[in-house]
């Protein structure tokens, strides 16, 4: 009969419409500003710089090695390396970024800076409500705006942050053991080249 297929389709629509009153999974719309879906742990949106401890300037992990600046596909990172060294969170003198800017109007949140960073200093954020009325200054984020604490990182990506913390702690323990060994060796009087302790940093 002509029109049978049409009626069948309409029956399907009616089933969905009436079903939405009884069945929860037919009612899929989330009324956004009032209701929100649960955050997904892996989601990413724009990078931030991780710092340890309380002071963002002192605790910044970034040592200004310029790798992310070089590897960034759209070239949205701008870094100026410091000329002097300052003690970092563990008290070790390190270079630091004098200027670290990310142009978020260019950034495409691809995560490649995170992957190439050998110091776990740059990570992906999850904040997405970032609209602004100034399209120049407010979209060029400096290092103060980018700096976020390691606790914040642990809060937004718990699994990933736990792995990173464990890895860093392991590296620090290794370094400590090594430097202990070096001081002991020095005490004995054996000549150990000082470069060896410096090279341990990146391992």
């Amino acid at each position: 009969m002509f029109g049978e297929g049409l009626l069948k389709g309409m029956a399907e629509t009616a089933r969905n419409f009436l079903g939405s009153y009884v069945s929860k999974d037919r009612l899929t719309t989330v009324q956004f500003p009032e209701e929100r879906v649960a955050p997904i742990e892996a989601s990413r949106n724009f990078p931030f710089l991780v710092y340890d401890g309380k002071d963002w300037q002192q605790g910044m992990r970034c040592v200004s090695c310029l790798i992310c600046e070089k590897e960034c596909p759209p070239k949205c990172i701008f870094i100026e390396k410091s000329t002097d060294k300052k003690p970092d969170a563990t008290g070790k003198p390190q270079f630091y970024p004098a200027v670290f800017n990310i142009d978020v109007s260019v950034c495409m949140s691809c995560q490649i800076c995170v992957e190439v960073c050998p110091f776990d200093a740059i990570k992906m954020d999850v904040a997405f409500e970032l609209s602004t009325d100034n399209r120049f200054d407010d979209l060029l984020w400096d290092k103060q705006r980018l700096a976020k604490s390691n606790e914040y990182y642990g809060k937004i990506h718990p699994t990933e942050a736990a792995a990173v913390d464990a890895q860093l702690a392991e590296g620090r323990a290794k370094l400590e053991a090594k430097s202990k060994l070096t001081t002991e060796a020095k005490a004995v009087g054996a000549a150990v080249p000082s470069a060896q302790t410096v090279s341990g940093v990146t391992e």
Partner: protein, 386 residues
């Protein structure tokens, strides 16, 4: 009417109605037309309602992808491939990774191959679901079918976000494997989505497959002859709807596709209805592949340990990696001169090549059918213009 009396189609529309050819009308459809699936323009010459000439004009979304990739490192182009066909970034990643792996001779671990198949087939599901939704929207069924399709797509996008961190711009594959392993509970969630998918397909078939209006609008419309399709290099569901048995998953067996039992649905008439049905049937086959892959996935490494992320320099040479993307054969052709960036980088986009037969399919049909035929080609302008 002889061809000599037709007005020339120019890039910029100009008034073509003069005294002598008052019967013909030149219409510029697009680039901001809602049914052109992006910034795509068609210069259509009409005789009343009928199309007598059609000239596709594209390039409005050209972003110089190939040339930019020649300035970038191999890894740096990976996020840009997401932006080619933004519906299926996973398969774009896959094709590019495959080309680079061929170039550098990298072996992919077994688990990574399974992950690629699972994510790739999920991408195919959501792309086809979207396409049939958009096709119905183009036909004037505003809302209902598209929303049903998007409801299913949303579940798959949630899965992709939980795995890759992004819903559409996944940037997931790496040379020699995949970036991250499944988070806890992901596979169970994926299995749930895959198992529920045939129910959506049944529902969709009940909703539309026998619909008289759909049949009247699509059957016998936009027929693409077999010979023309083969000669024009059309691939993917478009080609299979004409009855040509050519699926790169079967022909080339890239990755580990030879381990899965699935069939290749074929059409008969090559019209819009066949192209619509092919997509529905292909989704059912994809579900089979997914179920097998989720069942069989082994544990192990997901990245080739020998491949470095930074400072990647393949030896001089050339390679062509191709996969069966949801839209057709997606290929990347790379020439390396041993430097960190490719000497030549070329994309073979399925959308662009499938689009070349648009005029042949549209001639003699009404303007309203042009929209439907274009919808059935399944184009994404990000890929057409690159």
């Amino acid at each position: 009417m002889s061809a000599a009396t037709l007005p020339a189609v120019h890039l910029t529309p100009k008034p073509s109605i003069d005294g002598s050819e008052g019967q013909l009308l030149e219409v510029s459809m697009g680039p901001q037309h809602p049914s052109t699936h992006g910034v795509f323009r068609m210069d259509v010459v009409l005789d009343g309602e009928q199309v007598v000439k059609l000239k596709p004009v594209f390039g409005y979304l050209h972003r110089n992808h190939e040339k930019i990739a020649e300035q970038e490192t191999y890894l740096g182009s990976m996020p840009y491939t997401d932006r080619l066909d933004y519906f299926c970034s996973i398969t774009n990643n896959w094709a590019y990774a495959l080309a680079v792996e061929k170039l550098a001779g990298i072996q992919v671990p077994e688990r990574a191959e399974y992950i690629r198949i699972i994510t790739g087939e999920l991408t195919r599901l959501q792309n086809h679901a979207c396409l049939i939704g958009f096709l119905m929207q183009d036909m004037g069924a505003s809302g209902t079918p598209l929303m049903y399709a998007f409801r299913e797509r949303e579940k798959i996008l949630d899965l992709l976000e939980a795995l890759t961190g992004s819903r559409m711009m996944c940037n997931y594959m790496r040379f020699g494997g995949c970036r991250v392993d499944f988070p806890t509970g992901w596979l169970q969630q994926a299995q749930k989505v895959v198992e529920a998918f045939p129910r959506f397909l049944d529902e969709y078939e009940r909703l539309l497959a026998e619909n008289e209006i759909l049949m009247a609008r699509t059957q016998g419309i936009g027929v693409l002859p077999k010979e023309l399709a083969v000669n024009a290099g059309v691939t993917g569901p478009m080609l299979r709807a004409c009855g040509v048995n050519y699926d790169i998953r079967k022909v080339d067996k890239y990755g580990i596709y030879d381990r899965f039992s699935f069939r290749v649905p074929l059409g008969e008439h090559g019209d819009v209805y066949d192209r619509y049905m092919i997509r529905l049937l292909e989704m059912r086959e994809s579900v089979k592949v997914l179920q097998e892959a989720i069942r069989d996935i082994p544990s192990g490494a997901i990245m080739d340990a020998k491949t470095k992320i930074r400072g990647f320099r393949p030896k001089a040479g050339e390679a062509y990696g191709r996969i069966e993307a949801p839209k057709g054969e997606l290929g990347f052709y790379l020439i390396s001169d041993g430097s960190p960036n490719p000497y030549r980088y070329r994309v073979r986009p399925p959308s662009l090549i499938n689009l070349t037969v648009l005029e042949d399919m549209c001639l003699g049909h009404n303007v309203a059918d042009v929209v439907v035929i274009l919808g059935s080609v399944d184009i994404v302008l990000g890929e057409v213009d690159r």
